[in-house]
Symmetry: none
Subunit: 222 residues, 4 copies
């Protein structure tokens, strides 16, 4: 029976916390996530439907709902994976204590650009979804804050050390420069404006350092 949805009680299909799943269940769940990832990347959020996802995962329609209660939910999971991946990739090269700010900035920018290229399709979709889904907008907001706060702290530290000019405010600078790097990546990679990765990374770094009054690294002289 479909009708009366009034009472409802605790009917939620008990979305499996992924831990209590049998191996078979884990496999199915993973298949769904993978299928969803691919489809979201290819068609975006709106043009991907549960039907597509289950079919690509080769499970029955209803099986989807054994693991996720909605498209939003599986999307959140997919994005979480992507975000984790993204960060790992962006931070792939660890910094040394001896690194100058310019070196760190250069590395961070290049890392961000590369991570963006590897996750471009999904980043575009996240951007899409964030415009009409509050919950998923939060995910993006939190990701943004993560970067802003990190930069903000670094800038403040460098400023105390006299490496950044005193007239910039760390919070505003971190927001603005983070926006610069992030949005440039979007423009180049997602929107497809022409660019060369190395040049772009180099230019971003020059602008970033110039903006903060940070000295560029001497080109490793002869």
């Amino acid at each position: 029976m479909t009708e009366p949805r009034s009472a409802s009680s605790s009917s939620a299909p008990e979305q499996q916390p992924a831990a209590t799943l049998t191996p078979r269940g884990q496999r199915t769940r993973a298949k769904l996530v993978k299928a969803a990832y691919t489809l979201f990347e290819k068609n975006g959020y709106l043009d991907t439907n549960i039907n597509d996802i289950s079919r690509r995962a080769r499970v029955a329609y209803g099986t989807f709902y054994t693991y996720f209660s909605s498209k939003e939910e599986i999307f959140a999971e997919v994005v979480e994976q992507m975000t984790t991946d993204f960060r790992a990739m962006a931070n792939a090269v660890p910094s040394q204590p001896s690194d100058t700010p310019a070196t760190r900035i250069a590395r961070a920018n290049l890392g961000y650009l590369r991570a963006y290229q590897a996750h471009a399709a999904m980043m575009a979709v996240l951007e899409q979804v964030a415009t009409f889904n509050p919950r998923l907008a939060e995910i993006r907001r939190d990701a943004r804050r993560f970067w802003v706060e990190r930069s903000s702290r670094a800038i403040a530290r460098w400023q105390r050390d006299g490496l950044v000019r005193p007239d910039v405010d760390p919070y505003y600078a971190a927001t603005a420069l983070g926006s610069m790097v992030d949005r440039s990546a979007y423009v180049w990679i997602v929107l497809g404006e022409p660019f060369d990765e190395d040049v772009a990374a180099d230019q971003l770094t020059r602008l970033y350092c110039g903006a903060l009054g940070i000295a560029l690294d001497e080109p490793r002289a002869t």
Copy 2:
């Protein structure tokens, strides 16, 4: 996504080009655009439907299609109005030949921020639509290019005049710094991150100038 039957219908009555309309027709058309503007701002593109628009414009459902062939079309028109408005507002204060680059940049940034605040809701909607509608993505792309090209030319000019350091590339710089300003505005105004307009404009200008190696204006001394 639904909105299916669009792709080139059989016999579109070739919507009125707005010029060949009787005065009465023009009024009706204008009512529709106004209603659409309000609703798109309030509810976004996806949650605004033709029904709402005609109702708010107090015309019959079918009348909508006398003037526009699709939701996309009226949205394009609304965005065009908004864009025109936006530019006028952003460029409200004309520059003097004697203005320094820093003055021009400061004025441009403040103008942009103010225009953004005045058009925040629609900018957010445009951002939303551009993520899934190629045609409307073009509109946004063109708008972006408009600003980038203008900045690009200015930077190149300043660079030739020795006012901008030689190691930045005008195109990359214009893209990146344009992204910085535009995205910061989005983050602060649309996403609602805390900011103060004057501080933000000032900081953006310092970063912008610093990035290009442009000297800030001396605070009008004595």
Copy 3:
């Protein structure tokens, strides 16, 4: 597009108040109501779906939603018609000032039984729906109260006139005797327990009168 249902605004399809409809609209609406009536009677509420209704009315699926916002809504309308009809039929024979209480009771009981027979199928469906739909339960409750209040007033009046024994409480008596008649009708007509209309009406009247201490009419002696 289907997705984002968040904002919603005033999207309701503006359920036509039936007055503002064009003749064509009125015809379509009426066809839907008629189809719904037939199907509800035949299959009950749960087993009737919008698809069936539109098909039987020979209109497109979506047309249903031009006139009604849900199955519940059209059911409410159908029930309202039925209720009006039911009352008219039950009260078909008007009472004369000279009628004795027993005459009135007899007439009311017979009227009720006959109306019940004519509307049996729908009464059964209303009974069904009232068990799980609060809004429609209200309709039934109000109908019940209508009868109870009417009887209650009559009993009180007769009691003041010394025609009803003093130890019964009009409200309890009206509720209980109303339940007796209504439920007996249900048992006989809907559940199909064997009965003869005239005998049943006669017996109900004897019990009703006896319960209240009302003298039966003398069989019109020779």
Copy 4:
């Protein structure tokens, strides 16, 4: 209505007749029945699903089908328990050979009202289910007949003894008066119309006796 694949499946494992079960099996079965009872009471038949039941019984989903072949089946069991309980409670006070009819009727009515109050929720659900499930409608019908036949016999006996007026037909009277008591209880208790148990029982008894022409018991005078 959904619940489709029911109609005689291919190889039902012929559910355990409850007697041939191991003690462990009996415990599991009992847990399921108890859980089902609670949930049916709280949410009604339609809004209770197998998932809820198994979860509340703390057994696996599939385990449900080890003991019951369908939701209908477990409901039937639950109702049976309820009915047994109901009768026991309604007949709690045994009658003495010396009791007058009025005493018996009064006791029966009070017993019925009390039993109804104790089982109100489930009675309401049974009422619901009986409207769309023929098999469960039978259960209710049988229960009704049980009371009707008993009353019918009593009335006939009293009539033979000259204690009930001759013009009432025992079958019609039993049906009608049974309906009166049963439906009044439903109206007061399930639908929540205002009533006082003692007054209600007293009034029902007066009406019942009056209807049959049975003398009320003298208030135990001096």
